[in-house]
């Protein structure tokens, strides 16, 4: 296809992506280098009829607004935002690590730094939910594959629901069931015989609930992909394995799993990317006190009355770097394949 | 009137050379076959003529127009694709009519021309079917009808028979030959099957690795192959090629000795002869070797034996019978031998 035709076809799409994906990334980087203006203060002399005069500092609202209007980005702060307490917190981290407290205390203190708290949860969510959801999906796929044909359709229908559901709504539904007066929450209190046990009070329960939600909503995707993969397992290989005397488990281990391995890489990649941006469940579960994620930090900076663009920008940049690191193996592999093809 | 002229045409992708410096004049109404193994550049050449592939270098002229920059639709050619390229959402009738429609041929001519084209390829009974409901041979004929309905200057056919079974291939081949005779249009036909090339072509272009190896009538190419590649590609079985050396008009190699060849050549050469030019000798032959296999073909019997490390085929009388391992004496007339340069493979004599 000639260059001219190609670009005529792809231009609208390209413009949309450049304007609303590439440029915002640039904009985020720029924003992260600025912080909000300090308020303009004026000295006001306050004279009272009998008390004489006193001066006091007041916020000059008009001047502040004027400054804000002239330089909407705020004032230049370099990389300052990246290293302050709300982000990488290098000073605090250094102090904690060099102190002579016990390991547990150090962990607890690091956990009190908002960025690390979010980072740790995001990574745990990513690397716990992804493998568990894939294992669940694989198990469902194997089981469904063994069922009679008529039951497959309805089961696939129900299995799709947790995935297709709006993340915020799905997490709200589970949250309501898990609240102390909900069916699951009450049951859990009953099992542990602890009437004060609740999502709000227990970080462990919050984390567990979020991780369970993650597996619940991610499992179906693995299931569908693995199930489709199972349909393409070559019958010849399976049958020759049976003739060679392989047991059920050995057939799964030596025929089915190797056949599905490329699919599994693909599923793992997609799910890692998606789980890294975990956000809605934290809003849905009102979990911010016990668990936050990088995306939630950005959301938190941006919502509310005082929008902290600098802070949100810095977290965004760090998040984007995280995504690129996650993608690195794929990018490197693609690059190598491309090089190979070109030579 | 459509002569097609290719001047120094090349196609490169990065460092890969698809077609290298192709020069050819194709006469009006000629049936030209591009022949070669897959990857030799024959299809690329045709696609450059069609305008589906950009030309890296050189010029292509159709009639008196330089077409390098023209869109396929403006080149006034039609093309039959290997997998036919039928529009699955249209009926046979609509498929054949499509070129007329997009070219804004006046509506009132459509029906008549579609019917004429479909009649020519005997498709009248299938006009309301969709391609999915047709057999391979029928789809093939729809593709042909769609190509001829417009009466273009030239037809391009890209391996049109390769998806058909052997029997259908023979009858469709005959049909294409007949169509060319009736319509009298310049036709360029790409194939890897040397029998198609021999039977259809006015002239054959043999290609390999992007280079033209030989251009000539089918008989020229069969009787005087320009190099060992053409010699081994044309004919069934392929020409026997034996490495050896020549001295004073005598070719020798392990198990073979042929006298009376040209005195001009000297030193290491490759000798070639065709299976049907050899015969069994009564007393002493040019080759004496044990038989490796005997294959009964019905109209002839094929003997093979090992000579100088190569398996050599000899076509003998259909009644001949022998056991594997028996000694056979084979006579090869010097006049039937071809000599090729041992390193370049180019024809010496």
């Amino acid at each position: 296809m000639p260059n001219k035709t190609f670009f005529a076809f792809i231009l609208p799409s390209l413009i949309a992506m450049v304007l609303f994906i590439a440029l915002p990334i640039v904009s985020v980087v720029v924003q992260s280098l600025y912080v909000a203006h300090e308020r303009v203060m004026v000295q006001v002399e306050n004279c009272q009829p009998f008390g004489g005069c006193s001066t006091e500092l007041r916020v000059d609202a008009a001047a502040t607004a004027e400054l804000q209007r002239e330089q909407p980005l705020g004032r230049f702060n370099g990389l300052g935002t990246y290293f302050n307490r709300a982000h990488l917190a290098t000073d605090e981290l250094g102090a904690i690590l060099s102190s002579d407290r016990s390991f547990d205390q150090k962990v607890a203190q690091i956990f009190n730094l908002p960025f690390y708290k979010a980072l740790i949860f995001t990574l745990v969510y990513c690397f716990v939910v992804t493998p568990l959801a894939m294992a669940l999906g694989f198990a469902i796929a194997l089981a469904v594959n063994a069922l009679p044909k008529v039951t497959k359709g309805p089961i696939i229908f129900f299995s799709l629901l947790p995935m297709i559901i709006t993340p915020l709504i799905g997490s709200l539904i589970l949250y309501w069931m898990l609240s102390p007066n909900g069916i699951l929450g009450a049951t859990i209190q009953h099992i542990f015989n602890d009437p004060t046990l609740s999502l709000r009070a227990s970080p462990v329960l919050t984390w567990t609930a979020l991780l369970v939600y993650g597996v619940w909503t991610n499992g179906p995707f693995s299931f569908v992909v693995f199930y489709a993969g199972l349909q393409t397992v070559p019958a010849d290989t399976l049958e020759s394995a049976m003739i060679d005397g392989a047991s059920r488990w050995e057939r799964i281990r030596y025929v089915i799993i190797p056949h599905l391995a490329p699919l599994a890489t693909f599923v793992a990649l997609v799910q890692l990317m998606d789980n890294f941006r975990v956000f809605e469940p934290i809003v849905g579960f009102s979990a911010e006190a016990n668990a936050t994620s990088l995306s939630y930090l950005i959301y938190n900076d941006l919502s509310g009355d005082a929008q902290q663009f600098g802070s949100a920008g810095a977290t965004s940049v760090i998040t984007i770097i995280g995504v690129v690191i996650l993608l690195m193996p794929v990018l490197i592999r693609t690059w190598r394949e491309f090089k190979l093809k070109a030579v | 009137m459509a002569q097609i002229r290719l001047k120094n045409v090349s196609k490169r992708w990065n460092n890969f050379v698809g077609v290298d410096n192709f020069n050819l004049d194709i006469a009006d109404q000629e049936f030209l076959v591009l022949l070669g193994p897959s990857g030799c550049g024959k299809t690329t050449t045709m696609r450059m003529i069609a305008g589906l592939e950009e030309i890296t270098e050189g010029e292509i002229w159709i009639g008196d127009r330089l077409v390098n920059k023209l869109e396929p639709k403006d080149r006034d050619i039609s093309m039959v694709f290997q997998s036919y390229g039928l529009y699955p959402n249209m009926t046979v009738y609509e498929n054949i009519r499509f070129p007329l429609k997009v070219r804004k041929v006046p509506q009132e001519q459509h029906h008549e021309r579609v019917m004429a084209a479909s009649k020519m390829v005997e498709l009248d009974d299938f006009l309301q079917r969709r391609p999915a409901a047709l057999s391979g041979g029928q789809r093939q004929r729809v593709a042909l009808a769609r190509a001829i309905v417009r009466e273009p200057n030239a037809f391009l056919m890209d391996e049109p028979l390769s998806n058909l079974d052997a029997k259908l291939r023979v009858s469709t081949r005959a049909q294409i030959k007949n169509l060319h005779h009736t319509l009298k249009r310049t036709t360029i036909y790409v194939t890897h099957d040397q029998i198609e090339a021999m039977t259809l072509a006015d002239r054959v272009v043999v290609m390999s690795k992007g280079l033209v190896q030989q251009v000539g009538t089918p008989m020229e190419i069969y009787d005087r192959p320009a190099n060992t590649f053409v010699a081994s590609f044309i004919g069934s079985p392929a020409m026997n090629l034996i490495k050896g050396s020549i001295e004073g008009g005598v070719f020798t190699s392990e198990g073979i000795r042929i006298e009376g060849l040209t005195l001009a050549a000297k030193g290491p050469v490759t000798l070639g002869f065709r299976a049907e030019d050899a015969s069994l000798a009564q007393a002493s032959g040019q080759i004496e070797a044990p038989i490796y296999t005997v294959e009964l073909l019905g109209d002839a019997t094929m003997l093979s034996m090992r000579v100088a490390g190569e398996l050599v085929s000899i076509k003998v009388n259909k009644d001949y019978r022998a056991e594997i391992g028996e000694l056979a004496r084979v006579a090869i007339p010097a006049s039937a031998c071809h000599l090729f340069d041992h390193s370049t493979g180019a024809r010496i004599a």
Partner: protein, 294 residues
Amino acid sequence: MSDAVAQKRPLALNAIIYGFIVLWVILAAVPFFWTVWGSFKVEADFFSRESWWNAIFGTSTTRQTGNAFTGAGYYGAWVLRDFWRAAGNTIIVTVCVTVISLTLGTLGGYALARSGRNYAFWILIAALVFRAMPHITLVSGYLLPFFQLNIWGVLPTSIIVLVAINQPFTLWMLHSFFLSIPKDLDESAMVDGCTRFQAFRLVIMPVMWPGVVTTGLFSFLLGYNDFAVTAMLLSAENQTMVPKISSFLGSIQETGNVMYAVAAVVSATVPLFILVLFFQRQIVSGLTAGAVKG
């Protein structure tokens, strides 16, 4: 094959398989049915202090309203709290996002599938990286420029942003669908007298419908399920359903009308149910064949 194997399967294994599937279906489906059922109760039943059986039998609901079922939550959400407006906005946003995404995506995906050049490959790789960007990081890049340009808060802005965010995925998916259509088809069309665009419109698109429908479903889901973009970029009166529900939560929990939110949640879930019911096959094929997830 599976039938022959099924007969030889030991009973214990069968029991495990069936037990596991039943457990999974319960886990997958019951939360939805529980919430749908509970949305017709009063809060004292849905969140019952005494026993969760109340939620099933509607003990308090009967006591308060005289009937085991009540539509009070729906009335509150849709009528008193203007949820209909949010539903209307959602329809506008999802329809526009789907249509525009598909228009841009088919054109671009077609070009990518038919160009063998290096830059097409690099555009696809860039799209892959873009697709991995958390939406909220992009949102933080939008806000300030949008405030400055004075286009914050309105539906068209959100629609265009969602279209753009959706493009990488749409391009990948449609690109792989276009790859499955033989090149011969466009080439015959062009030899037959079409321009590239005519070949695309008259010959390729008519056989592309399955791919377009499948991709459209995922575009629809993206627009419908989005929270990050719509919550941050829409003013309160322009909100779509999902951010509306989230803003419900803050204000409603104080006044004790959680049931409005429950009713709204159920209302927003029903279209998804219907979607899966009718398009299950396309969704499954999209997840697997498209090789990308929305």
